[in-house]
Assembly symmetry: C2
């Protein structure tokens, strides 16, 4: 796929708010990188590591997670193509959480040194990366709300809405339909519920006619209703007009803004 132009999605992301000048685009496009493949469930980086490069998702999905005492884990983030998984290692030496591949994934490793050099040089690029970091924090904040104050059905609905919007922004979610190589156990660990209950919730969402959800394929059948159930508002994703225009009109997008 876009291995040939590994930065296309990243550049697209970085330019979401402000266009970059051609020098800056070249800076990014000429960053040295190593492409690597990961199998499903393979660990990309482990908590406590002190990596010397950042990880850009090229295709597939990664997820951040922390393990607890009792063999449980909490997924703290889902990373889609175009996301940088561990930007924090750029300035915080030790990784505070682990990162693994959800399904098979292709990533690009970007060595810290040239990345830092670049960001020191170009204020515009620095700003664009700041935005990425703050966007990640905004998503984490919304996850805090999701995990803290919503019941299971809403948690799952909310996560599906978030993924739909994020994937659409990178062209992986046309027609309110996307596919993620997660199991219901992964879903459970992302939503802080048990796997058994995750299953029941998925069934309930199906029963309510909100989604088709076969295996890894999720098709949202009633966006407005799902938004309502999940108490979703996309403002924290900072997609502004870009995404809203891309969503089909007849689904009544104006509703949830």
């Amino acid at each position: 796929m876009e291995i040939g132009r590994p930065y296309s999605r990243l550049l697209h992301r970085l330019e979401r708010f402000n266009a970059l000048c051609s020098d800056d685009r070249r800076y990014v496009a000429e960053l040295p990188l190593t492409v690597a493949n990961f199998a499903a469930s393979q660990e990309v980086a482990r908590r406590g590591d002190t990596p010397s490069r950042c990880t850009l998702v090229l295709s597939g999905f990664l997820y951040g997670h922390k393990a607890l005492d009792n063999s449980r884990r909490q997924i703290t983030s889902l990373l889609v193509p175009g996301d940088i998984a561990d930007l924090n290692t750029l300035h915080l030496s030790t990784l505070d959480h682990s990162i693994s591949a959800l399904g098979p994934a292709v990533v690009a490793f970007l060595p810290h040194t040239p990345l830092k050099y670049m960001l020191d040089r170009s204020p515009h690029l620095a700003r664009a990366f700041w935005r990425e970091a703050f966007l990640e924090a905004a998503i984490l904040r919304e996850w805090v709300v999701n995990l803290g104050r919503r019941e299971a059905l809403a948690k799952v609905a909310h996560l599906v809405c978030e993924l739909a919007v994020r994937l659409q922004a990178v062209d992986l979610g046309r027609n309110l339909c996307f596919s993620v190589p997660w199991t219901q156990m992964d879903l459970a660990d992302a939503c802080g519920i048990s796997a058994v209950h995750a299953n029941r919730v998925v069934q309930e969402l199906r029963r309510l006619g909100l989604v088709d959800w076969d295996c890894r394929q999720v098709k949202i059948r009633d966006w407005d209703a799902l938004v309502k159930v999940g108490d979703f508002s996309d403002d924290y994703l900072q997609m502004q007009t870009a995404v809203k225009e891309a969503l089909p009109i007849e689904q009544g997008l104006s509703e949830y803004a």
Copy 2:
């Protein structure tokens, strides 16, 4: 208190990892600022706002929060003196969550423009601010874990541990004792539990001899046990040696590292 030197705590924080050169210190110390007082529960900034300055906590506590449909709210962060509450507004125009004063608080408003100018100019300062941003994200990640995968007693214990360490780092938590102007309702909204249950949990922590907890004053009586109950590990706070040295030896700090 340190209104006379409003940046002392911030400088201390920024220099936690690397000392700043005297030029950089002067840069910071000469940032223009406006000091403002807030009463308990007063709103400092509201979701949707597009502020043109950042908010540095000088004394007292702020908290970030998001309201849900049903008159519920989730507290997403507690901000202690030395924290910058809304660094994200520097590059993300609209605020994704509200910020309020927990008790009476004194803050300094730092206009974006000189701040941006400064960060564009000094790579070292930029790095220090990056670290602050990433640290905030690391805390959010731990909150995600706390809310998603721990039961109520552990949630509260964990939060108390976190606060103890963070407050100690800014000299507000000597002897494993600190005071925060929160109510049990605030505690509940931070831990994603009901106020009634928060009360029961606090009582249980008292009963177990883990803490003295009168009104706003929290005294940790058995650090090791509290750490264990809360499944706490301070690595995500990136305090490194600094804090560990500051904690009393006899409390067996080596345990939880």
